[in-house]
Subunit: 443 residues, 2 copies
């Protein structure tokens, strides 16, 4: 018998949920981590024999699973949480959100807003998010600092903000940031044209060329509301989906967010073209945008990811709760209680998001060689007892506050609910300063 | 100036949300409690001058609001949480839930299940629930013991269980329990015929007479699924709603649970007859039962309450989360982002439930003379910051674990998240013993 191998960390949870294969739950197994990567998943007894760990975490009564992936956020908008509710999308955008952004948007706004979002994301078991917002270099800097993982959207719009004046400048800034992020292990760029109704054909075509040359995804709101689709058809005779198809944007690198308005043919095309869907059920419900046909998209073979959208339209960044909402709503919309079952929903919230970002070789499931991005969840509370089925409990009964530990690249960001890489008091104090300023301006 | 009056308790929250009038938020106010009742809501400075309290709670950063009312539960079924998911209602009932009940239902099952439910309800800020299950005298005994408030459903079915053999015996036992509960301040009976498809005309007619004589509400599942309505029409030519109307059950004492299948005429009649609706959006979604037209019912003038249904079909008893789901889903179903706004949703979860139970003179809002049933909720966490609108934050962003204190009749049941009237360890141990037995039997 050889000597035990020295490793950084072994975690002994009650249940280990690797997500690949879908639905598998391992009892009395350990997760072995070294150099920021997963070394092995193996029976706890073997782990004790074969490895000597510099750190050991005993987590009886807990499940261990991959970190959740929030596949659509506007992190800095957490500073606008609850500023304007119970309003339709275009009213909410044009009369509340865009004016607030016009008045307050700055590098500092983004820094403080992203810090607040990161505190919420980490406490809720999210290890990776896919962001779209202004000053993306600031978002990248905060993510680097707090140790999370993110796809940073290089935002493109046709109209001026304090960040950029026109599509050219947005694209230029995006390319510069792309170059800066090269070689970063936890940050990846994605082009992020806001929506079909805010970016013209010329900018989209240029962006497609860049995205293809640089091999980065394109992250875009698409078919969010019936109004969006109807207006495009009235003005151009073309549905936004058909337009993006004509411009050759749609493929496995395309991340289509919302997709509540789809013909049967568009559902088939989504799967055939390999377009990734980010389903944001709570934002879609709150803004009365419509219902994404999640079960039909999955049946067609499309990749489904889960996003919260920004906290200004959700109003939280709770991926566990969003996954529950997705699983519940899919059944109601499909008229089939077997639609989007718990294990499939958990896949969407982890591996589905990783696939959408083109990051599934690195994250989204617990496999040897992947990054050690994982969370532990305490299932011993009365809210999740008795326990017949771990994955059912995680998706249908568990609250995000039951997340106990969060690791990214093997580094702990949350330990027994304590944030380790972020000054929570300072973050909350900054949020309250912004609140005072924004509330005063809103009258 | 007179001497300060001695009272039992004064609470100083940051925000006081009385629910009546809807939408009101008082800052720097205090709630004064004496003899289990609310004495006054008044500015904090005045409270300090006019009252001397035996106990004082300072709750900066917290909201104080009426205890939540869970208007439809099967509390004991918490022991079956997650036993069978992702199945349609009749499959779930006939192949999983009813067989499990046939094998395990007993007084002990109910006692242990209701204790587990009470732990979850109290921790989630629920002070009153409306239950329907077997062995209701056991449910009543547990509620009495833990200090909660409840309407106890005197269940009636046509088929035999270990509780009773036929409708006669159910009715007989119900009447006996009704008499036992007389004069209890925190317990009220309600007749609870299970559903139109499980109780015949003869039993319903007798029950109507008793309910009317005894002046107690009737609590019943109604129009839960399209299947239920179609089958009744196919067999009798009559929709269940029409049948209950013919039997003269429908009126202000009738509590109709689910109501996902309603014609425009039935919506109008619901309001005209004063029938109370209990909306259970998560259970309806999970079982793919359909969508309750909550916004249309409210527009017609009906009283709307919120229920979780049992933890076997939800899978939690989280009224705060259910209220968020109701508010979100109502917008999506109505195609109107202004439907069921936050303040209206909070009314449904408190006063709406109280009205449905005929208990609104005593609970459901914070008014002098009403019972001191209230909760405090910590809004200082990053998940609910920054804060522009307290009620938006409570409904759209807050998690139930942010509930800090729970009082019923002025008695604390949860203090700084500690359960005071219930042995949590013993309750969890019992739940785990049931899990072992039920899982073994289910194979």
């Amino acid at each position: 018998m050889t000597d035990p191998r020295s490793v950084d960390l072994i975690v002994y949870p009650h249940w280990l949920v690797p997500v690949e294969p879908e639905g598998l739950v391992l009892e009395d197994h350990a997760l072995v981590v070294d150099g920021g990567e997963i070394v092995e998943l193996l029976p706890a007894d073997f782990a004790r024999q074969r490895y000597r760990a510099r750190q050991t975490l005993e987590r009886s009564g807990h499940a261990l699973l991959p970190g959740l992936v929030n596949a659509h956020t506007h992190a800095a908008m957490s500073l606008l949480r609850g500023l304007a509710d119970d309003r339709a999308l275009m009213d909410w955008l044009t009369h509340h959100i865009w004016p607030a952004e016009a008045a307050h948007l700055s590098r500092e706004f983004c820094r403080d807003g992203v810090l607040l979002a990161c505190a919420e994301l980490i406490r809720g078991g999210v290890t990776c998010f896919n962001d779209m917002y202004f000053f993306p270099e600031t978002t990248a800097a905060v993510v680097r600092e707090v140790g999370l993982r993110a796809a940073i959207g290089l935002i493109v719009l046709e109209f001026p903000t304090t960040y950029a004046q026109n599509a050219d400048e947005y694209l230029h800034k995006g390319q510069a940031l792309h170059d800066e992020l090269r070689g970063e292990p936890r940050l990846r760029p994605a082009f992020a044209p806001h929506a079909p109704y805010t970016v013209g054909d010329a900018a989209l075509s240029r962006l497609r060329v860049y995205a293809s040359e640089l091999a980065v995804p394109i992250h875009m709101h698409l078919h969010e509301t019936a109004h969006e689709v109807e207006q495009a058809q009235a003005e151009t005779g073309e549905r936004p989906w058909a337009r993006l198809r004509r411009l050759e944007l749609l493929g496995p690198e395309f991340i289509a967010v919302h997709m509540t308005q789809l013909t049967e043919q568009e559902i088939v095309e989504t799967a055939e073209l390999g377009v990734n869907i980010v389903h944001c059920p709570e934002s879609n419900m709150k803004l009365a945008s419509g219902f994404c046909p999640a079960a039909k998209l999955l049946a067609a073979g499309a990749n489904l990811a889960i996003g919260t959208d920004g906290a200004a339209s959700n109003n939280d960044l709770d991926v566990l709760g969003e996954t529950r909402s997705a699983a519940l709503l899919a059944k109601a919309v499909a008229g089939d209680a077997a639609a989007l079952p718990a294990a499939r929903a958990l896949t969407a919230a982890t591996l589905g998001g990783a696939r959408a970002l083109g990051w599934n070789e690195r994250i989204g499931s617990l496999r040897p060689g992947k990054a050690a991005d994982f969370i532990t969840v305490d299932l011993s509370a009365p809210e999740t007892q008795p326990l017949y089925d771990v994955i059912s409990q995680l998706v249908y009964a568990c609250g995000r506050q039951q997340v106990r530990d969060v690791f990214v690249d093997g580094r702990p960001l949350l330990h027994e609910r304590r944030l380790l890489s972020l000054d929570l008091d300072a973050t909350l104090a900054a949020a309250q300063r912004w609140r005072a300023r924004i509330a005063a301006a809103a009258g």
